[in-house]
Symmetry: C2
Amino acid sequence: MAAKSEQTRQLVADVALKMFREIGFEKTTMRAIAQEAGVSVGNAYYYFASKDELVQELYIQVQDEHAVAATKALEGVQDLAGRLKTVLHTGIDVMTPYHQFGSDFISTAIRPTSPVNPFGEASTAARDASLAIFRSAVDGASPAVAKKLRADLPELLWLAYMGVALFWVYDKSEGQRRTRKLIDGAAPLVARGLSLAKIPGVSKVFDDVLGLVRTVKEDA
Amino acid sequence: MAAKSEQTRQLVADVALKMFREIGFEKTTMRAIAQEAGVSVGNAYYYFASKDELVQELYIQVQDEHAVAATKALEGVQDLAGRLKTVLHTGIDVMTPYHQFGSDFISTAIRPTSPVNPFGEASTAARDASLAIFRSAVDGASPAVAKKLRADLPELLWLAYMGVALFWVYDKSEGQRRTRKLIDGAAPLVARGLSLAKIPGVSKVFDDVLGLVRTVKEDA
DNA sequence: ACTCATTCTTGAACACGTTCAAAAGTGCAA
DNA sequence: TTGCACTTTTGAACGTGTTCAAGAATGAGT
């Protein structure tokens, strides 16, 4: 029997996500969710320990959509700039229905104790999934990315992606036009910048950057 | 008469900041502030429209301290790497008493409607003050920074500083050792990276980066 | 059919940030 | 002194996220 329990859980989650999309984070109160779902407030809390955990539900779903959309869109795109653009654009695509919700999300997510914190423990799975998208974007590129960069690049790009997401949240231009522009401009620049790694004088700086990144990551 | 009113305002602010420092943001309730200050809750709200505005008070104070400390510490430091290090380290210095408070602060600050949002209207003054520190760090450097970079660099460094601050918030190492390491490593790297602007192949990439920055900033 | 441990559900209660009508205080003009 | 407008102060009340003791429902073992 497919757990009556699981049904209730799904119901609450579905109602919550729908309300987040339609009326925003703050106006979606736990009481409203419960009422709309036809359960008691306490019951919603039986399945989700906090409002933040409902946000986590949304986060995971958006992440999944991104993985699917990006994988599909990457087919046939060879060059790094194009692949990077693809991953970033599809990322923004799946987030778009939640744009008005974005600032509340980030505000929630940035709190170290939040289950949605992208750097935190609770979202290791989601982060790894997201990282995997960038890894595939890098690994599948031709001409290939310089070998010494290949290991760390996906993580750095993912970090940049967090920055783009932040930019997007603040982007009040229609359809978030500016964010799209930023992606279209930055992706080729990153690719070109990386190709400079062959120049001797530049190569050393790259090595040091990688060294620093590794050092700082290490003694966490 | 130095306004009894102003005295109350100061009292509330002082008590609040002290409590933020000592027991953190969440545990510092408006009721606790009021009680400790010997006023009613409503009275605290007469002077500060929200708890966020008390955070703004803190933000401004920290900013001021940073400006003073950085200006003093910059004396006699010539090279860009050193000057950058100085500004970043003094920035972390003045924030240190509030480290445990950091994540709540950022979580508050990142909300576009917050008076403390560093990108927002309400903190234009504070941001300009902070920007001025970076501008002076750049302008006072010798050997001088490439002319074409000089206009935009302070803003980009300020942005990087926001990133460092974010890193610091998450830095759980003792005394935030890792953040210090990051600063010591990154500052010379930035300086060296900028000096590459003279190399022809690199120069073009730099130009495009600046072009992109300006484009994206323009049609806000 | 009858336990009874486990899972699920309820709604009242709590502390919080915030609001507001009303009271108290203040200072100046008549 | 009295009157009056203005500023300051109060504390009860509201809606929020969250907790929890208590009760229902469920289902496996007898």
